[in-house]
């Protein structure tokens, strides 16, 4: 069970870091996608959804190929950091980000598309820079979508398993995340410990996600309830 604690800590770290990176990547991507008008747009949207289509272990297998020192990604990483990408925490983060990207992009995209452009025009005329517009107007106005995206990305990274199993190599303290230990417990027929861990994970996630979704409440109630 002490191994579980390491796994919990590692999982949290992975989920938090991946979710943050996801939001940082997904927000501008979704924004650009919402503004971009081109016949090829549906194809780009479909490409973004593709990581979902492959079974996670298979995706992980291909990531493993990409991470190997023979590939440009793996060798580039190695010459940059001296370390190996596969079986490292950094590799897990990359895998999780790729795997969960669709969940982060799609809700944000839908939010941006529905944002009334007049608010942005007003913000622009008020002199807000692009960044200020994003920070002061766009993000607060699409908050429910951000929370949806964040919640999905976070939960998905917590439960993320196939990819991690493949590229992580199940190394305690480095790549053995909770989902893998849980899987291990089930696989090694330690059902008691599996139940414990599963219930713990569920309760913990329940609390964390409840807190996340609570953010949505304040102010939101009044938002659409007025006729002006």
């Amino acid at each position: 069970m002490s191994g579980d604690w390491t796994a919990i800590w590692l999982t949290l770290k992975l989920a938090v870091i991946s979710s943050l990176i996801l939001m940082i990547i997904a927000t501008p991507l979704a924004w650009w996608l919402a503004k971009w008008q081109h016949p090829a747009k549906p194809i780009v949207q479909a490409v973004i959804a593709l990581p979902l289509v492959l079974p996670p272990t298979v995706l992980g297998f291909y990531l493993l190929l990409a991470f190997s020192p023979q590939s440009w990604l793996g060798s580039g990483w190695e010459s940059l950091t001296g370390g190996q990408l596969a079986f490292s925490f950094a590799g897990l983060v990359i895998g999780s980000v790729i795997y969960s990207l669709p969940f982060a992009v799609q809700p944000l995209y839908a939010g941006f598309v529905q944002l009334d452009i007049k608010y942005l025009e007003t913000a622009g005329m008020l002199g807000l820079s692009r960044t200020a517009q994003i920070r002061r107007v766009i993000l607060p106005m699409v908050k429910p979508h951000i929370i949806t995206a964040l919640g999905l990305a976070f939960a998905h990274t917590l439960g993320e398993f196939g990819v991690v199993l493949m590229i992580g190599g199940n190394i305690p303290g480095e790549t053995q995340v909770l989902s893998i230990s849980l899987y291990d417990h089930v696989e090694s027929l330690n059902y008691g410990q599996a139940h414990q861990l599963a219930i713990g994970l569920l309760i913990f996630s329940l609390i964390l996600m409840s807190l996340l979704y609570r953010l949505n409440r304040k102010g939101r109630d009044a938002w659409n309830s007025r006729s002006g």
Partner: protein, 229 residues
């Protein structure tokens, strides 16, 4: 000083025991990571830092040999698996119980996927030898590995299963099948360590092949193998 050993899930429990004993005896630490043989193979093939790979079959270690990753002397058999049959209706079953059921299957029979797991292949061979394959093939469900087969049985979703004897040894309704019904389930390992770690890996493998360990194998449901040549 620490050795990284990757093991196919079905042998994980005994290996952990042996590793602990080895640690007590020599002071050398052994880190065990477990996954399916296929996953482990793919990882080793793509640079995973593993010193010893204990596969559930012989084909993956042989594949590593073909790939040129290891030398012929690095691949050895560490245990012979045995096939078992478990079911719910009969407290002390035998092969006849299996035959009776398989000739007119009323519920499903779980085996491991013959393409992925040696126990699955062994189960297929056993059923073929008993001329039951034709009869049961419509009633089969495939587990991805023997552990999953065991879960199918344990959770009550199947009432009959053919799987590793090591998993069901001592359980009510379980019986070991004769090793004449199938090809030997040869579990091989490969020493993948290079350079400085190689000696330590060899030492651990020697320990696994020592009589001290090998005599314990039947207790775990495996058959011992000869010594390393």
């Amino acid at each position: 000083d620490t050795l990284k050993v990757a093991v196919a899930a079905n042998f994980a429990k005994p290996l952990e025991q042996f590793a602990t004993a080895y640690n007590e005896k020599t002071g050398n630490r052994v880190i065990v990571s477990k996954a399916s043989s296929g996953t482990l193979y793919a990882q080793i093939n793509h640079g995973a830092d593993i010193d010893v790979f204990l596969s559930a079959d012989s084909s993956r270690p042989q594949q590593l040999l073909e790939d040129g990753r290891v030398n012929a002397s690095d691949v050895v058999t560490y245990a012979i698996g045995r096939l078992g049959y478990i079911q719910r209706s009969n407290a002390s079953p035998d092969v006849e119980t299996l035959k009776t059921f398989a000739l007119a299957p009323t519920t499903r029979l779980a085996i491991a996927n013959p393409r992925l797991a040696p126990y699955g292949e062994a189960a297929r061979q056993a059923l073929t030898s008993l001329v039951l394959w034709q009869h049961v093939s419509g009633a089969l469900v495939y587990g991805n590995n023997v552990l999953q087969v065991y879960q199918f049985y344990q959770s009550g979703n199947v009432d009959h299963a053919l799987l590793a004897w090591s998993l069901i040894k001592g359980e009510p309704g379980a019986v070991q099948l004769s090793d004449e019904l199938h090809q030997p389930i040869v579990q091989q390992l490969a020493i993948t360590a290079t350079g400085a770690d190689k000696a330590a890996a060899n030492a651990f493998v020697d320990y696994l092949l020592s009589d001290e360990v090998q005599t314990q194998l039947p207790q775990w449901g495996y058959q011992r193998t000869g010594t390393r040549e």
